[in-house]
Amino acid sequence: MTPALTPALSDVAFAFILALLLLAPLAIAGVALINTGLGRSRSAAQALLGSVAIMAAAVIVFALVGSAWVGGAGHSFQLAGKSWNWLGASPFFLSGLGSASPQSQLGLLFELLAVAMAALIPWGSGMDRWRLMAGCAAAAVLAFAVFPLTAHWIWGGGWLSQLGINFGLGAGFLDGGGAATVHVLGGLSALAVVWIAGSRKGKFPKEGLATAMPGHNAVYVVFGCLLALVGWQAWNVAGAILWLHVAPGALAVTAVNTLLSAAAALAATFAVTQIRFGKPDASLCANGWLAGLVASSACAGLITPAEALLVGLVAGIVTPLMVELLELALSIDDPSGAITVHAAGGLWGLLAAGFFAPQPGQLVAQLVGIAALLGIVLPLVYLLFWLLNRAVPFRVDPDGERIGMDLHELGGGAYPEFVIHRDESYR
């Protein structure tokens, strides 16, 4: 559990944060719906069931084991006269939760939602070829080892949060809404999954450009964006109180910034796709909207509305271009765009928090945090997933990929009254 980091909460504040955290799962629902809509119709049931199963696996493992490594004074070593706290140590199996401080209880609920979201993000990138069991196992690995490590460093009093005290770098690494612990971690995990599972069959033919494999339901995708907005605003405001200790008078600004960032990102992606393709692209616009929300996770509680517009604008311009770059130039088959939206969007938000925060040294603190995410988290996740792939193969067999994940893994399709075309019928 997370230690009490702030002055005691009043009953009203406790109830307010709890209400926000009860709305936050809408962000997860939105992402799950977007992922499902961006996949193929013959894998839709597996995609949505997988989202729920992955959340369940992550939450159970985190509650039983992972949460013990997030909070508490934990393990530290001395280097150059400074204390480097790298791992938490609190009771396993959530022992003592009932008697813990209100902050600790709310912090734990926040972390449970965060680990569910972080584990869900790579699921979208592995769609149409990643086996359900392997997805759940990967979620368990993230919840067991990687998420607790990252969350302790940033939220649990670890070395990144202490950069301000130890080295005079602003207020230490700041991440109110989980841009690093949730989105960059999830996005980098998505990259590891794509590297290990490989691309979908037929995505990159021997000659010519990559094959377009559009999502099967734009309505799911766009409705997911609307759901995500509600959850994200609750998430960012709750995070601003719990981790950034934002004053009550500034909480409305946090929510406004979240909305402005998403809106500016959508407008920018709309314009970029209109210019590039002659018409706005629904799935890319959804990705842009989500990238704006992700970027706001890092900085919504720290910046002004004008700066939030700028943050969203940059996220919205970069997103469609990077999706195209990854697919066409770098041969990375990411159906949901999670690497761009969550990893790149999160990194941009963290950087923006450093640019716009008033404290001197904050930008360097954010850069050190980004260095930790790229230099430690990505290789660690890749190593763990690579080992896991030996025990629980990630990729479905070719026949399963041909008939679709729904029939292969669940025995029935998501849309049984419709005929699902086979690959052969596309000729």
């Binding site: 280097l79 590297w195 041969s331 850069l367 230099g375 430690i376």
Partner: protein, 60 residues
């Protein structure tokens, strides 16, 4: 090649960490942290390149 790139990335992180300890002045510290990030970027580029080559070999 992918593994080489992934091994380079922690080296970049340790460079950034070393900057905190070795350089108390803000300017050199920020510059050294950026150097560490640049090394990580190179490692990532090598890893991505390795992925592209491996995919090219497996094309039908």
């Amino acid at each position: 090649m992918k593994y080489a790139g992934l091994l380079v990335m922690p080296a970049g992180f340790f460079l950034s960490l070393a900057a905190l300890i070795l350089f108390p002045a803000p300017g050199p510290r920020a510059a050294f942290v950026l150097c560490g990030l640049a090394v990580e970027g190179m490692g990532l580029a090598v890893a991505v390149r390795g992925h592209m080559e491996a995919r090219g070999d497996r094309r039908p």
